[in-house]
């Protein structure tokens, strides 16, 4: 089974989610504290809008929505990869503590360099770098500690939960040392509000996404093979452990970059791959692109809900997604049948 076949089989769902994303995009562009009608959007795009409309559309809403799409896709793929490499359908960079590791690194950088101290390292460009280092460090630790003559899916999860708690404790120590202003900023960021809403954040995120998503697609075949029991990929000449390490790095890099700009958004990495698998089956050739699209659609919609529900106050995206995602996860845990599904 290769790309062409897989994509042709899942093309209906792919198209459906592209349409959904476009519809949400337009709707989200026109709603908010200052409603802008559809014809006004077209007018503004053509260059005949008021300066106010231009400011709202081009400087505030557009970059934020682009970021929503990018981090949705990135986190979804990060989760897909993580689930693929661990053969564990409950893996999620948020649950495993990878997001928390990235978050810790970012908050540490806020603490060290501040946002207004004007040093080079406080530029948005460096946030994904810090986050990446944090995510990778935690991923390496999780891998190291769940290694015991092999990676057991359950052990991986539990070890991840432990590191999540550890990062939480360290974050707490760090946060209490901050001054209230930095603290509020860090708290908002940690709940997963898309806080870097300007274009600089888009430019700092885009290169990571543009490199890492194709890399993930490139590894689809490997992940399909990894779904078999240990012996099969080995017999097919796959260097299982080194592939796993590579995939873990890939997943951590994606999660890190997204967390740096979007904050601690949990559950996307869990929800999107699940829905994708449910819609088009377990083949990674088709489920990877689909889960990317689903993730983008989910974050975009959650952002729209968050900014309109209690307007003018913003509900951070991460909260909206947790409110949807946590009950879904619990429902899934309670209804799955016996041991048929991999824990």
């Amino acid at each position: 089974m290769d790309w062409k076949l897989a994509l042709s089989r899942s093309k209906t769902w792919l198209a459906a989610f592209v349409v959904l994303i476009m519809a949400t995009f337009v709707l989200s562009l026109s709603t908010g504290v200052m409603p802008i009608s559809f014809s006004e959007i077209l007018g503004t795009l053509a260059g005949s809008g008021t300066p106010r409309q231009e400011l709202v559309l081009f400087q505030l809403r557009l970059p934020r929505m682009v970021i929503a799409i990018l981090i949705g896709a990135g986190l979804a793929l990060s989760g897909s990869i993580l689930q693929g490499l661990s053969r564990n359908s409950l893996a999620d960079p948020g649950i495993l503590g990878i997001n928390a590791g990235a978050g810790l690194a970012v908050v540490f950088s806020i603490y060290l360099f501040g946002q207004e101290k004007g040093s080079l390292l406080s530029e948005p460009f460096f946030l994904p770098v810090f986050a990446f280092i944090g995510a990778l460090a935690i991923a390496a630790l999780i891998y190291r500690f769940s290694w015991k003559g092999g990676i057991d899916p359950e052990r991986l999860l539990l070890v991840g939960l432990g590191f999540n708690a550890l990062c939480g404790a360290l974050l707490m120590i760090l946060q209490l040392k901050m001054d209230p202003k930095d603290f509020q900023q860090a708290a908002i960021w940690l709940t997963g509000s898309i806080w870097g809403t300007g274009w600089p954040y888009v430019w700092s995120l885009l290169p990571w996404i543009l490199i890492l998503i194709p890399a993930a697609f490139f590894k689809a075949r490997t992940m399909n093979l990894l779904q078999f029991k240990q012996e099969v990929p080995v017999a097919l000449g796959l260097k299982v452990e080194s592939e796993r390490r590579l995939l873990l790095c890939l997943s951590a890099a994606l999660a890190g970059a997204c967390v740096a700009v979007g904050g601690g958004i949990a559950f996307i990495g869990l929800l999107a791959p699940h829905l994708a698998r449910r819609l088009c089956g377990p083949n990674y050739f088709s489920s990877l692109p689909l889960s990317g699209l689903i993730g983008a659609a989910l974050v975009l919609m959650a952002d729209m809900i968050g900014k309109n529900l209690l307007a003018p106050a913003d509900i951070p995206v991460g909260i909206v997604i947790s409110v949807i995602g946590a009950p879904y996860l619990i429902f899934m845990l309670l209804t799955r049948k016996g041991s048929g599904m991999r824990v």
Binding site: M172, Q184, I319, V323
Partner: protein, 341 residues
């Protein structure tokens, strides 16, 4: 069947008593150290004097009586409460990883506190206390209902994850509320709270809660020991599991609700302590529960001293200290072979 089991327990009793006495001695010295150490060092002789010949005029005696003593006693009671709550949770859910902080109880209380901070202006201590109880009750009911609803036996990992998901949900909601009503830092301070604000009234609330919780726990301790053998065995011996679960639930809510309302989110005591005690004396809950209480008291008193000593004059959140102690242990447990308990 019951007789040989009872006989084989005999040496364990001696061992339990021995360890219990050793731990009690340590608790005593821990309390003395907790009273003596701090921003101002107070020598043991002054501590002794303040008990036997209290002089109201002496500032150190005042400090001991009004600040250090309630804090040390509060720490011991909270540690005991959390440890016993963890033991009961592990017993009734048969999940070796259950702990009030992991499984959603603490964050349930956090959500209730966030709501009360946001909507009840000038909320008194009693309102916080009631909210914390209500929140822990809701969290505990939800988690326990998961293990009751699910037809097939729910695996420890599943329950732990469901609890983690519930915790995430609660903490997302409470952060949302806190940010919207701008009480985020208040909430955060409550969460990281620790023992620094523990006064005599807190001790007097804790004392009955811990005693009643402990009595309820001891009441079901025999049934928990049987439950640990397996649900089929327990059912075969004609044991009503519903009754055991409800009593256990009430004990857990009482113990963790009181502890959380006073000290905020202190994690891992309820996870680590029962396991350490189990390693020492085995899993006879009649002994496990009282020894866990003593060991929990000891651990939290030590952690609290650590919280004061790490970065003076600032206090490190004691929950961070217990997490730093607890996480390595959690990792060790999760690396052990499955079927542990």
């Amino acid at each position: 069947m019951a007789r040989p089991a009872a006989e084989s327990l005999q040496p364990v009793h001696l061992k339990s008593i021995k360890w219990g006495l050793v731990a009690l001695v340590f608790v005593f010295f821990g309390l003395l150290a907790s009273i003596g150490l701090g921003a101002i060092w107070i020598s043991p002789s002054v501590v002794w004097d303040s008990f036997v010949s209290f002089k109201a005029g002496q500032i150190e005696h005042q400090l001991i009586r009004e600040v250090r003593l309630p804090r040390a006693l509060g720490g011991a009671l909270i540690g005991a409460a959390l440890a016993v709550a963890g033991t009961i949770m592990q017993g009734i859910t048969r999940n070796p990883l259950a702990d009030p902080s992991i499984i959603g109880i603490t964050h349930g209380a956090g959500l209730a506190i966030a709501i009360s901070l946001a909507f009840v202006s000038g909320g008194s201590y009693w309102i916080l206390l009631i909210c914390s109880f209500a929140g822990s009750a809701a969290g505990a009911m939800l988690v326990l209902s998961f293990s009751m609803i699910s037809k097939e036996r729910i695996s420890p990992v599943t329950l732990t994850l469901a609890g983690a998901a519930l915790s995430t949900l609660f903490s997302a909601l409470s952060t949302g509320i806190a940010l919207y009503f701008q009480v985020a830092q208040d909430l955060s301070f409550w969460f990281a709270g620790g023992l620094s604000g523990t006064k005599w009234p807190h001790v007097f609330i804790l004392l009955p809660a811990v005693i009643i919780g402990l009595l309820l726990s001891l009441w079901i301790s025999r049934s928990l020991t049987i439950l640990a053998l397996g649900e089929e065995v327990a059912a075969g011996l004609g044991q009503s599991q519903q009754k055991v679960r409800w009593i256990g639930l009430i004990a857990v809510i009482l113990l963790s609700g009181a502890a959380v309302s006073i000290a905020g989110a202190i994690g891992f005591i309820g996870l680590v302590v029962p396991h350490m005690v189990r390693m020492l004396i085995g899993s006879d809950y009649r002994w496990l529960i009282p020894l866990s209480a003593i060991a929990g008291a000891l651990l939290l008193v030590i952690a609290d001293i650590g919280a004061r000593m790490i970065n003076p004059p600032f206090e490190t959140p004691v929950s961070a200290v217990t997490a730093l102690i607890g996480v390595p242990f959690f990792l060790y447990l999760s690396r052990r072979k499955r079927g542990y308990m």
